[in-house]
Amino acid sequence: MAPASSTTSMKVSFRVNGTPRELELDPRVTLLDALREHLHLTGAKKGCDHGQCGACTTIVNGARINACLSLAVMHAGDEITTIEGIGQPDALHPLQAAFIEHDGYQCGYCTPGQICSALAMLEEIDRAVPSHVQEDLLQKAGITEAEIRERMSGNICRCGAYANIVAAILEIAEGETA
């Protein structure tokens, strides 16, 4: 994007779930509000709006981030994936199916964030991103319950469905490595 300066609104374009989008936004609009209020992609949720709950977790250029703590104008040219781009009711992603099978939710409010976070988290393990619970920093971490719990700690579930969330993630992770 060309350097620009404005106090009212600015043009920003990025791709969301593979589709190019152009918006005219006040620079105060967060990526989360751009997705929800301007593009009407309401899958990503607003829990805390302060980076504390993970309900807004979105995948940007392959990495999971909190969409509530990022300004939309900071994402010019980015590739953004939301839960809507991961699966649809008639074509569920295997992790969505595993959440249903394992009862990985009650109210479902945290679920889109959990699923986006988990998919990007498994790729982080693949890229040898270390974790707090890893014993040997030089080895790639295994996909264990302890690793999943630690790496998913940025996603809070008010309903406390944690055990079932871990079970769902473990199931598809095992499927992938088998």
Binding site: M1, P3, A4, S5, S6, T7, M10, D26, P27, R28, T30, D49, H50, G51, G54, T57, A63, R64, I65, N66, L69, S70, L71, V73, M74, S117, A120, M121, E124, R127, A128, V129, P130, S131, H132, Q134, L137, L138, R149, E150, R151, M152, S153, G154, N155
Partner: protein
């Protein structure tokens, strides 16, 4: 949030010049601390200079055997770098002990150093706070001070520097590289980077308005085993009550820095000389001038025990 204008920086010096010329302008990197504070109107910049396009995303080997870490290297990328995991394990451990996977993907090396305190009264704009509103007083000193500082504080502010990474960085010869509006480069030892509050707690660091961090330099990896032990109220995704970064050699000597206790990562070289005498000797010296409140005095024995635990692991 207050309205602001926004631009993308084209060079470090250009960014520095814009922010130096406008006291109401701020740099924005990952945004994970600044946007949070802007939503609460604790920070209310009128202009943001987004530095993400600058070529500061690399970690380069230096001739002296150390590393030059670009200011925009993310916390995740830094902790994943093989040289960091192998030679500066305490830094990788400290980063992974902080925040969450999502936040670490956005958080940058420079932004992490500059994260502001987590004092609950700083965050509550209805409260008195000298750091947020200079001269208004400090609600924490007579208030809920469990998470606040025990040493290096003043009667004007008892807040801590809340970060983890910088505590581990204190084990190495770490230097912060900056550039100003004229292009002048300054090399600031990390030991002198964070300020003690004194009578001006509103200034967290020695940086001038518009001074821009370009890199963080690490000295060559020293010998010894490295540790980062963080004690917090839950097992993950919480700030430190106390943390200990340590470099321990087989002969019992080493280096130690404490987090969660002071307005800056707390390292006292004379205390390290007492390592062969045990944890208690070290913390007695390191915290000799401590002035805890009734609410946070528990941090002193906790620091001793955390260090003892780390020293036991080094032997084991």
């Amino acid at each position: 949030m207050k309205a602001f204008s926004y631009e993308r920086a084209r060079s470090p010096q250009q960014a520095a010049a814009v922010v130096a010329a406008n006291p109401e302008a701020r740099f924005i990197a990952g945004g994970t601390n600044l946007i949070d504070l802007m939503k609460l109107q604790i920070e209310a910049p009128r202009h943001l200079v987004d530095v993400q396009d600058l070529d500061l995303h690399r970690i380069e080997a230096k001739e002296d055997g150390g590393l030059r870490i670009g200011a925009l290297v993310s916390n995740t990328a830094l902790a994943t770098d093989e040289r960091i995991r192998r030679d500066y394990g305490a830094v990788a451990r400290a980063i992974m002990a902080g925040a969450s996977g999502q936040l670490r993907n956005k958080a940058t090396t420079a932004g992490n150093l500059l994260q502001r305190t987590r004092c609950p009264y700083f965050y509550d704009t209805a409260q008195r706070c000298n750091k947020r509103a200079p001269g208004s007083g400090c609600a924490a000193i007579e208030g809920f001070s469990r998470g606040l500082g025990v040493i290096g504080t003043s009667e004007h502010c008892i807040a801590t520097y809340p970060g983890d990474m910088a505590v581990a960085l204190r084990l190495f010869e770490t230097v912060v590289e900056t550039v100003d509006a004229e292009g002048a480069v300054r090399m600031i030892p990390l030991a002198e980077f964070h300020r003690l509050p004194g009578t001006t707690p509103e200034r967290d660091t020695v940086l001038e308005q518009g001074e821009f961090i370009t890199a963080v330099h690490l000295g060559p990896p020293p010998e010894g085993r490295q540790f980062y032990q963080k004690v917090r109220d839950r097992a993950s995704y919480a700030f430190a009550l106390v943390s200990v970064a340590a470099l321990l050699r087989p002969d019992g000597t080493g280096r130690v820095a404490f987090g969660g206790v002071a307005p800056r990562p707390w390292r006292v070289e004379e205390a390290e000389e007492l390592l062969p005498q045990g944890a208690r000797a070290v913390t007695d010296r390191a915290f000799r001038d401590a002035r805890p409140t009734a609410g946070n005095a528990f941090k002193l024995p906790l620091a001793t025990r955390t260090l003892a635990y780390v020293m036991a692991q080094a032997k084991g």
